[in-house]
Symmetry: C2
Subunit: 245 residues, 2 copies
């Protein structure tokens, strides 16, 4: 249980890079992973281009415990994620009999055309991520979890796959509102961060309800005692501030 | 004017990877770049970690015409973007006299502490990105544009830096609503995409106002005639569809 479990996200899609579609998956997966004790370390967004997908996938899958991909598993010509993943792993890809059987239950012979059958193409050896409400399945191969780009479907897939993942010691987090501007607390905060090496202290400015610059201070640690000690030091520092805002 | 100008985005910040903050900058910059004729090719998100920042920056800046970074230029210990950029370029970094002079106009001697002075640290040779309303400046060094993480400030910085960038032939785009499910048009759409190689055809499913699965088809090209020809083929295909939804 003391292992640190890490992850990368690979978002695949021209529509994100053109700005036509605003990604909502990164934030969702990031929060989800934090809650189940997996450290998200890196995100990449690439276009619907096979060499780019393979290069990013290889970089991430060799570096992190898990890689989550979103997008590119639909029925059209620009959906090339499954083929790219198969190439990255050096395995074959074919229509998965179980998926084809489910498609035949759902669609008539006429509707189950070549395009829809593409959604049944799964790399050899992959494990399906599916449910009664998910039409085109995702899959897990090695440490790579391949999911849909449509947020509601991706979220359903996360719920299916999450219980199968190993998770590490959860990163704990505590937040205090400084009622001070970042610039007024930067120097003492740096000293506290240096004195509490097993914690991560973040400083996030925001405009408060009085339209004054304010700051949230977030202390994170896997060790509850170290977190509490660092947070106590932060609160002592804030209590001793002599500033006017 | 026939040059293709490309870009990468590097988002820097633990708070994005933990899911605490939901990024709004990628979508904004993506759309902005499309509108000024710059092709966004890749996005990366990394933590507040100097080796990770430098590695991602080096990968992106050698590959694309421009790199836009967001985050990590505030006054606290976790703001390490400027120092990381200086190291990546192998140049020194020091308090920029022009920025310090502006800070002295704004803050009293007591308020202009070490933390705030950190925001005046600019890599040698960088050009400032600033205005009367921007407190801590961004900067441009080589092909790297360093901006704030707070969306409103980042957006102001984009407006300042954009006129100085070279832009290529703008990618044109046209969209048609298919009134069909993706799976019903995947095969003919693939044939059209193959027959129109200087265009990019994207297929984006959505639930329409009648809660039926529907699809937007987007044709993109730098050549208006080729775009029009491909879009005409798409519309002919849609008009000839014999499907019930």
């Amino acid at each position: 249980m003391s292992e640190i479990v890490t992850a990368g996200i690979l978002v695949i899609g021209d529509e994100i890079l053109s700005g036509r579609t605003k990604d909502k998956n990164i934030g969702f997966i990031a929060e989800y992973l934090t809650n189940i004790g997996i450290d998200l370390k890196e995100v990449r967004v690439v276009s619907d281009d096979e060499p780019d997908i393979i290069a990013a996938l290889d970089a991430l899958r060799h570096r992190y415990t898990y890689v989550f991909t979103t997008g590119g598993i639909g029925p059209t010509h620009d959906d090339i994620t499954a083929d790219s993943v198969a190439k990255a792993f050096g395995v074959g890809i074919d229509h998965h009999p179980e998926v084809v059987a489910r498609f035949r239950e759902r669609w008539s012979e006429q509707d189950l055309n070549e395009a829809r059958l593409r959604m049944a193409r799964i790399p050899d050896g992959a494990e399906l991520i599916q449910s009664a409400t998910i039409l085109a399945p995702g899959f897990k191969i090695g440490n790579v979890i391949v999911m849909a780009g449509v947020p509601s479907i991706m979220q359903a897939m996360m719920d299916i796959v999450a219980p199968k993942l190993k998770s590490g010691v959860r990163m704990l987090s505590d937040t205090v509102r400084a009622n001070a501007r970042e610039g007024d607390i930067g120097s003492p905060l740096r000293a506290i961060a240096a004195a509490h090496p097993d914690t991560i202290i973040g400083s996030y400015p925001f405009m408060d309800e009085e339209q004054k610059p304010n700051t949230n201070l977030v202390v994170r640690s896997r060790d509850p005692e170290k977190l509490a000690a660092a947070m106590a030091a932060v609160k002592d520092m804030l209590a001793g501030l002599n500033i006017t805002r």
